[in-house]
């Protein structure tokens, strides 16, 4: 049977709805998730199906409602907390970092926190400095959390279902600009394990690693390179913590070159961590330094040309790949 094609937002909605049908303890909480049907329509129709007990609108009180959700997770429930964007989750970072992630350790294994924090992450056009931060590396720095950042509807659904079933706190990152993206998603149920990267395009000349919407840049660059007979292998990390460096290393053993494309700020980013591990575990396989393209080392500005200069793009990725291949141009 041919796969259905559905939107990213529908894939997320299916994941949440299926898990809520399966497990009474799962509920969804956040700003505008119920009556407004979601700021980005991810939860459309869920209030109708599950009612206000399980699809819960909150006031703009991120610290407060996150704390309530975390407390409820410690006491037997399995909340999904939606942030309108991850920029606003800086307010409840205290609850995520100081309570959710540390509870199990502090209580000597007594109190876990099965909770999913999810929402769109990173930039979404000309939204200015305060609405454009990509937070993967920041959360991935925190022991006790798992961090997922998805790039397409299929992965989104399978990984969100796994996240909801996971007994540990999970950070789940989407993107405003991908909610309308369409992709094949099977009718039948499936799960994707947390912590497994995925080879999205096979190749032999260079490995390009990315995640979330920067996968489009990585795949776009691979396509450009293919026109010049350069075969890039493109890996989607999908999970940032735990980081599946084994898959990357296996690829590098073949290509001997690694370029990482991410929307993080450069300092202590996902690429920093990955580059460290690959040089340590795969030093003998590398024919060139591991290189990366990140966002600029600055807050994102509003003007369109400054947005373009800030973000990784296909031309710069192509150029960098050629550099690690020691090709002229």
């Amino acid at each position: 049977m041919a796969n259905r094609v559905i939107q990213f937002r529908e894939a997320l909605r299916e994941a949440m709805s299926e898990e809520m049908r399966r497990d009474e303890r799962v509920y969804l909480m956040g700003e505008e998730v119920a009556e407004y049907n979601g700021a980005y329509k991810v939860s459309q129709g869920m209030l109708d199906e599950f009612g206000p007990k399980r699809v819960i609108d909150t006031p703009i009180s991120e610290l407060g409602f996150t704390a309530v959700a975390v407390g409820s997770a410690q006491n037997g429930l399995r909340p999904i907390v939606e942030y309108m964007t991850w920029n606003f989750a800086v307010l409840p970072l205290d609850q995520i970092l100081n309570t959710a992630s540390k509870m199990l350790a502090m209580s000597g294994g007594q109190v876990g926190c099965p909770i999913v924090f999810r929402g769109p992450n990173g930039s979404a056009g000309q939204l200015g400095a305060q609405h454009s931060t990509a937070f993967e590396s920041l959360y991935a720095n925190i022991p006790g959390l798992k961090v997922i950042s998805v790039s397409n509807p299929y992965d989104a659904k399978g990984l969100l279902k796994s996240a909801i079933r996971d007994d540990d706190p999970v950070i789940f990152m989407e993107s405003e600009v991908m909610y309308g993206d369409k992709g094949e998603v099977p009718e039948e149920e499936y799960l994707i394990p947390i912590g497994k990267a995925d080879i999205k395009r096979a190749g032999s000349d260079v490995t390009i690693v990315s995640f979330n919407k920067m996968m489009k840049v990585a795949l776009g660059a691979a396509e450009e390179l293919a026109k010049e007979n350069i075969n890039a292998e493109v890996i989607d990390l999908r999970t940032i913590r735990p980081l599946d460096w084994h898959t990357v290393l296996e690829s590098v053993k073949k290509t001997n070159r690694l370029v990482i494309v991410e929307e993080q700020w450069p300092f202590a980013s996902v690429s920093s961590e990955l580059a460290y591990t690959i040089q340590k575990e795969g030093f003998d396989y590398l024919d060139a330094p591991v290189r990366r393209i990140t966002s600029a080392d600055a807050p994102m500005h509003y003007a369109p040309n400054l947005v373009a200069a800030y973000l990784p793009d296909v031309p710069r990725t192509v150029k960098l790949v050629k550099e690690v291949m020691y090709l002229k141009k």
């Binding site: 006031p59 703009i60 991120e62 606003f88 307010l91 000309q126 305060q130 509003y302 003007a303 400054l306």
Partner: protein, 336 residues
């Protein structure tokens, strides 16, 4: 509630003329911004002030230029009222180098420190505390300036409000907390956010004076703000004013507005402060229609010029990317 009514205080013809021109300017600027957004000249999020103009008008006449304003992302109206030129504001909406934030802020982040306008802030509720900080500095420096700190009804539900109220009362900071209650936070009505619907009562817990004010009336806004400002200047500390207003347009440019009825919007438009002020000028002060027309034309010209200015202005140069991040000029950025 305010005990004074519109009728009990007399304002001069000059005041009404000022209010009328200012409110009309804000209205026309926003109408133009809405149009330009539709034409994709303006990008990102864009939140219009249409309907809330009386608030800016009353606050302006009740304060002096040295008093600071700080607000959220719905900042065009207050920025222009405070004296940032429509040209600089329109250029900012375009993202041009001549904008009030050099094209780096956009709609949500207008700044004009020269005009004592400390921004447009995007994280709901954050500026409640920052506004108290502006007041703290005035108190520290020993000036008699006060901080007008604006936030929405939705923002009133952030924990920031409570911590700040407590600190502001503890230290008797010269800050006026102005809740612009337009009854909605995106699609959520005030009624759905709390057991306490009268936001001004939140002041009670901190023994802070609190008042509910008719935000469709520039007179009522002026009186309430003037009282609070006087108290703050004299060392009496903060006040919370819940100013009841209404936004005629959606939350931002992409809001289907299913959460309210057309009738509700119409009801407020019946009490439009610009129309009210115009009638006041014509009926009570016998200002001839021709004089009103002169103002209308002047406002239209000013808005048109702002668009022309924005259109003709240059983009920021690409090397602005790593500028204005640190004051330090030779900061060693990571450049891969």
């Amino acid at each position: 509630m305010s005990t004074t009514t519109k009728e009990s205080v007399k304002f001069t013809k000059e005041t009404y003329l000022y209010w009328y021109e200012l409110m009309l300017l804000l209205r026309k600027f926003e109408e133009k911004a809405g149009q330009l957004y539709g034409m994709q000249k303006i990008r990102g999020f864009c939140h219009l002030y249409i309907g809330q103009e009386a608030l800016a008008a009353g606050c302006m006449t009740a304060t002096k230029p040295d008093d600071t304003f700080i607000t959220a992302y719905r900042d065009h109206g207050l920025a222009i009222a405070k004296g940032i030129t429509p040209k600089a504001c329109m250029a900012e909406l375009y993202g041009k180098a001549t904008g009030c934030s050099k094209g780096k802020g956009g709609s949500m982040h207008f700044f004009g420190v020269k005009e004592r306008f400390f921004g447009g802030h995007g994280i709901v509720g954050a500026q409640i505390g920052t506004g108290a900080g502006l007041a703290f500095a005035e108190q520290y420096k020993g000036t008699d300036s006060v901080s007008l700190t604006f936030f929405g009804d939705g923002a009133a539900r952030q924990g920031m409000l409570h911590e700040t109220f407590n600190l502001a009362m503890l230290w008797k900071l010269p800050v006026i907390f102005i809740c612009e209650n337009n009854n909605y936070a995106m699609g959520t009505s005030v009624q759905r956010t709390s057991n306490v619907i009268d936001i001004y009562k939140l002041a009670d817990a901190y023994e802070m004076p609190g008042d509910s004010v008719d935000g469709m009336s520039p007179e009522a806004v002026h009186e309430a703000v003037a009282r609070a400002v006087k108290r703050a200047r004299e060392g009496g500390g903060p006040t919370l004013l819940e100013i009841k207003t209404y936004r005629y347009k959606g939350h931002s440019m992409s809001d289907p507005q299913k959460y309210r009825t057309k009738e509700e919007v119409e009801e407020y438009k019946q009490r439009d402060p610009i129309e009210y002020t115009r009638e006041k000028l014509v009926n009570d002060f016998k200002v001839p229609e021709s004089e009103i027309e002169v103002i209308n034309d002047r406002v239209k010209a000013e808005v048109d010029e702002s668009v022309k200015f924005a259109e003709e202005s240059p983009w920021p140069s690409d090397d602005e990317l790593l500028k204005d991040v640190y004051i330090q000029q030779d900061y060693p950025f990571i450049v891969d």
